[in-house]
């Protein structure tokens, strides 16, 4: 609260992002402890959570006032014009303070109160139980103690961080462990080791490291095989080796038997961050031409990276499906690219993860519990900007591409993905706070914050895919096609708040409505039929009593209500059609051409609009 100087500014203009003629809405700006709120003259509210703010920028003063540009992590960009510079400055400073918190305890999740009591809160947290999930997968069993296995194929997906091999370091325990993994699979003795990094990078790194010598070795403490390395006697030897040889590396095929080694070439978090930045720069350009858009899309490399992640996941799924081989996936640290590949691979292999609940489990398992550093990657706290990277966004985009290719295979729809993306940044719920399980426990998140999942499940209806068919056997294992044609710019993510760019009518909503009406009508039919049956039975019994007549009477109201229901649900649909959002020429860029209509010229014919005059 101490950061807020001005709570309310009137006569603020909100500029349209893509309009070149500075079309704007005028309204009032409110600053609260958690949100920035803009209410325009039509009483339409725009809420911006402080945690969503990625950057605030004050542009040079103009005659209209002081421009303030706010970029959000959920890809909303708003452009305000505040009439007085002092107000603008106050808001600017407040937002700078409020959007970057230094302590976890200052995040929204710790003050957010959805009016639940403690037991409800606990229930919410227990909704997704990983022990249950491992049980579902059929582990632990005789081969596995606790890991990430796939019950059907007897092959397994494993994950770890990079081996600290340097040039020639070996670790016998590690070699034994890998052997144990491959032996645990009775079907195929071979296993794959997937290094998700691009090979050329590893080799060039190798070349430079020879000269430089030492860098800090980071050991991931959360990943089980590293625990073993730590405890082992090898540690000293290993550390020495690491110090000499700078640590990082990849498995030497000669040291591990029955192993096939594979690089899949996903770039690191820094490349991804700048790629997304370029993409947003391109797609945010005013008056963008088709050619600039595609050349920008190409040079950003974003879709190339998405394809690389997909290809890696497909490689993994194929190794398990076709060859029945176990797979060990790692990158450098084992929590970014590894999480992407493992979770996507699981999604391809197991249809359970394509349900709403299953997807939550997948995120809990492969992302949250395996220590994807959400707080650093999403920049929850004021920290190192070099640690921020859209790794999870990429995962969501890959899932979106899968839903595009397999419209019937997923129980959830695009809205669900967008909602999750919204909340990894919102800091409203505890799930994504912190960088690892240890940190989360220290923060006592389960006692102090709420879990996101029960809230999503409550709203499940909004996130259902009406085309989902759970029974279809065809979709047990997805085999997506990753030819380049299949990758498209995800407009509904990167322009989710630019309504003018969206399709004007939503197929999903209307099908969802129809489906529901269908169910209701069928239920009505069943009700009525059972009543008819009842009546017939009674008639055959010959007991046509007064009671029966009474029981017939209430029948008509039910019928009526069901008919009313039909009309009611139909009406909003029609209304929605009548006011198609964004469908007005004024909202679209071609309207700018229309300015030519109104260029003033010496007049003979004057118009009733009084705007334009014409020469003759």
């Amino acid at each position: 609260m101490e950061h807020i100087r001005t709570t309310k500014v009137e006569q603020v203009k909100l500029l349209d992002r893509f309009s070149t003629n500075n079309k704007s809405l005028t309204g009032t700006l409110y600053l609260t402890a958690t949100h920035l709120l803009f209410i325009d003259s039509h009483q339409k509210e725009t809420w911006i959570l402080h945690h969503h703010i990625a950057s605030v920028e004050k542009l040079a003063l103009t005659t209209a006032g002081c421009p303030l540009v706010i970029q959000c992590k959920n890809f909303r960009i708003v452009h305000f014009i505040v009439p007085r510079e002092r107000d603008c400055h106050d808001i600017y400073n407040s937002l700078l303070q409020l959007s970057k918190q230094a302590k976890y305890e200052d995040l929204y999740a710790f003050s957010y109160n959805p009016k639940q009591n403690d037991s409800e809160r606990l229930q919410g947290w227990q909704l997704i139980d990983l022990a249950e999930e491992y049980k579902r997968m059929g582990v632990p069993n005789s081969h596995w103690q606790l890991s990430d296995a796939n019950r059907e194929y007897k092959a397994a997906i494993c994950r770890c961080s990079q081996p600290l091999s340097g040039f020639s370091a070996r670790c016998l325990e590690d070699e034994h462990l890998l052997q144990a993994i491959s032996k645990a699979n009775p079907v195929n003795r071979y296993m794959y080791v997937i290094d998700t990094r691009p090979k050329h990078r590893m080799q060039s790194w190798w070349a430079t490291q020879k000269d430089i010598g030492r860098i800090i070795v980071r050991i991931s403490s959360k990943i089980w095989n590293d625990e073993k390395i730590r405890e082992s006697d090898e540690k000293k030897r290993l550390n020495a080796m690491a110090n000499r040889a700078a640590g990082k590396g990849y498995e030497n095929e000669d040291n591990y038997s029955n192993i096939r080694f594979q690089f899949v070439g996903i770039e690191n978090i820094h490349v991804m961050r700048s790629s997304l930045q370029k993409l947003l720069e391109v797609s945010g350009t005013k008056g963008l031409s088709v050619n600039d858009f595609y050349s920008g899309l190409e040079s950003s490399g974003w879709l190339r990276h998405i394809k690389a992640v997909m290809d890696a996941a497909i490689f993994l799924a194929k190794a398990i499906m076709v060859e029945n081989a176990s797979v060990l996936v790692h990158c450098s640290d084992g929590w970014d690219r590894t999480s992407q590949v493992c979770s996507l691979g699981s999604l391809l292999l197991d249809s359970y993860y394509r349900t709403i609940k299953g997807f939550m489990v997948l995120i809990e398992k492969d992302w949250i519990s395996f220590g994807h550093k959400f707080s650093e990657r999403c920049g929850h706290l004021d920290g190192d900007p070099k640690e921020v990277s859209p790794v999870f966004t990429q995962f969501l985009e890959c899932v979106w591409h899968l839903t595009e290719q397999f419209p019937q295979a997923f129980e959830f729809n695009e809205e669900f993905l967008l909602q999750i993306h919204e909340h990894i940044h919102s800091c409203q719920f505890g799930n994504f706070l912190g960088n690892c399980q240890k940190e989360r426990e220290e923060l006592k998140l389960k006692e102090k914050t709420y879990s996101l999942w029960p809230f999503l499940l409550e709203d499940q209806k909004k996130y259902l895919n009406p085309l989902y068919s759970s029974k279809s056997q065809r979709f047990t294992v997805l085999e997506p096609n990753t030819v380049s044609f299949n990758f498209k710019f995800w407009r509904n993510m990167y322009h989710q708040f630019d309504r003018t760019l969206h399709p004007r009518q939503s197929v999903f909503n209307i099908i969802m409505n129809m489906n529901e009406q269908n169910k209701q009508l069928q239920k009505d039919i069943q009700d009525l039929e059972s009543k008819i049956k009842q009546r017939k039975n009674k008639q055959t019994d010959g007991v046509l009593t007064k009671e029966l007549l009474h029981s017939v009477c209430p029948e008509s109201p039910t019928l009526k209500t069901s008919l009313c229901f039909k009309e009611q649900t139909l009406l909003p649909v029609n209304d929605a059609l009548r006011t198609i959002e964004g469908s007005s020429p004024a909202d679209n860029r071609y309207s700018e051409y229309a300015e030519e209509f109104s260029k003033p010229e010496p007049a003979v014919v004057s118009l009733e609009y009084g705007v334009a005059r014409m020469t003759c």
Partner: protein, 538 residues
């Protein structure tokens, strides 16, 4: 001429490869006057595989050992491979196909021989769009009349017999105006937008020439248009060439309307690509779509380089501009480029689709195509002589109609509930425009169609498409009448490559089809339950 002269070898044993998805077919290959047949041996399935020879765009032969391979690239963008036994047979068949697929004569083409079961000759040729459309116009305003001044096609060979013109202008004035316009295409009514009382006209360029000639009747015609519209209406002349190109056209006898000669009218230039550059764009896009192995960067740079989506954007935004001027500014619009048979029609037909809910219905859209493309004299035979694979030097080919279909598809994607027809109809129209057993897209103008007696001797595509069994493929299950104008977004982020067409054969969109089938089920399921309810309650 006998077809048999061109057929060197009628029969051969062959195997047909139809891309990665479909299984290969083996059997006897047979070349007939209009078709390539493959009938599988008696042991396998009895169905016959058939290809209209007219559909073949380019042919490539290769021989190795004692067998040969023929690669057929079709106008509907399919690529087929025939493996034929015998070198001689391969070469002969290739030569026969080459000769038969490039026959110029219209009256020996397949539509004149096609007699399908269940259809009667002359069905659905009762479309007389100008007359029918005039009835609609006449209900709202009496400023217009139906003129039969072009009864014998002497005034304008590319116009239909009847055209809608201002009531105040008599036929003699029309004749003089026609002489002042290229190809005799004087300004005629294309669409009357009753909510704002304005009209959309189309014509060809005026023949002002270097001397800046004028034509009093032509000026009078446009003045009458403004007088007949909403009081105080202004007019815009939308030239689909750049100002530079329009000026240059003067040197070859064309030009633009002089400002001073047409009071109340203002000229706007919206350059749209046409002719050879458009064809090249199409060829390059199809080339890019034929290579599934290319990297992401290569694909994106080729997609950019072919400029196809840029053309889609330009066409849509020009149409939106015209529509907007009519709806919001209450202005009358005259659209023309040079000849007025290509980009002009693209703009007028798209503007109608945006403004007029009638034209978004199945029947209305068919009428729109008949009226604004076929009868309005888009030279289909010249423009669609070759598709994207042909090695022949392009002469008059241009995928203007395909560009129109693509724009319609983009509209349908942005307004999935507002078009009564689905992608199926657009795909069918694309196929039939390039090669068809029906007569609808034959010839270049109404005059030629009359000379060839197309109406009496061939079947209409519309009667073929409007059979009940075809409907499910063509309709949009989610259609709900939307009485408003539909304003699409023309930002590059909102436009997408039409995969259903350009990647149709290389990359079958199977899951999407399954999904649409499900949508159909949901929609029909709903109707059925609704229908069954009264019986249950009875």
């Amino acid at each position: 001429m006998e077809f048999s002269e061109l057929i060197r070898t009628g029969r051969a044993q062959a195997q047909l490869l139809r891309g990665p998805e479909a299984p290969p077919l083996r059997g006897t290959l047979c070349v007939t006057g209009h078709h390539l047949l493959l009938s599988p041996g008696p042991q396998s399935t009895p169905d016959l595989w058939l290809l209209l020879l007219r559909n073949v765009d380019s042919i490539e032969k290769r021989v190795a050992g004692d067998s040969g391979t023929i690669t057929l690239r079709c106008k509907d963008l399919r690529v087929l491979q025939l493996e034929i036994e015998g070198v001689e047979a391969t070469l002969d068949i290739a030569r026969s196909i080459e000769a038969l697929s490039s026959l110029e004569s219209v009256i020996t083409s397949f539509p004149f021989f096609y007699r399908p079961k269940g259809l009667r000759l002359g069905d659905a040729w009762h479309f007389h769009p100008p007359e029918r459309y005039y009835k609609r116009v006449a209900r709202e305003t009496d400023a217009w009349r139906l003129s039969e001044v072009n009864e014998d096609f002497s005034l304008c060979p590319s116009y239909p017999r009847a055209v809608i013109v201002p009531r105040a202008v008599d036929d003699d004035a029309l004749a003089r105006s026609a002489r002042f316009r290229q190809g005799g295409r004087f300004p005629v009514l294309s669409y009357s937008h009753s909510p704002s009382g304005t009209v959309l006209l189309r014509s060809s360029q005026p023949l002002t020439g270097p001397q800046k000639r004028r034509c009093a009747e032509d000026e009078e015609l446009l003045r009458a248009v403004l007088a007949g519209a909403r009081p105080g209406a202004r007019g815009f002349i939308l030239d689909t060439r750049s100002a530079q190109a329009a000026k240059q056209a003067r040197m070859t006898g064309g030009g633009t309307e002089a400002k001073a000669a047409y009071p109340g009218w203002k000229r706007l230039h919206r350059p749209l690509e046409r002719g050879r550059p458009l064809q090249e764009s199409f060829v390059r896009l199809v080339e890019a779509c034929g290579d599934p192995e290319q990297s992401m960067d290569r694909w994106l740079s080729r997609l950019e380089g072919c400029r196809w989506l840029a053309h889609v954007k330009e066409a849509l935004s020009t149409a939106c501009l015209a529509a907007q001027a009519m709806e919001r500014e209450g202005a009358c619009i005259l659209v023309h480029g040079a000849e007025g048979t290509d980009s002009t029609l693209l703009v007028t037909s798209l503007a109608q689709l945006i403004l007029d809910p009638m034209s978004r219905t199945m029947a209305g859209f068919q009428e729109l195509i008949e009226r604004e493309w076929i009868q309005a004299g888009h030279p289909f035979q010249l423009r669609c002589a070759h598709s994207a694979f042909s090695h022949a030097r392009p002469k008059h080919e241009a995928p203007t109609f395909l560009l129109f279909l693509d724009c319609v598809w983009q509209l349908g994607r942005q307004f999935p509930l507002s078009l009564e027809f689905g992608e199926g109809l657009l795909l069918a129209l694309f196929e039939h425009a390039y090669a068809s057993p029906f007569g609808t897209f034959l010839c270049n103008s109404e005059k030629e169609r009359c000379l060839c007696e197309v109406r009496t001797r061939t079947h209409s595509l519309w009667s073929g498409l409007n059979q009940p069994k075809e409907q499910r493929k063509l309709q949009n299950p989610l259609y709900v009448l939307n009485p408003l104008a539909i304003w699409p977004s023309v930002e590059p982020q909102s436009l997408r490559l039409w995969q259903g067409l350009f990647l149709r054969w290389t990359h079958p969109p199977e899951p999407a089809e399954v999904a649409w089938e499900k949508v159909w089920q949901i929609v029909t399921g709903k109707e059925e339950t609704e229908a069954s309810q009264p019986t249950a309650s009875a």
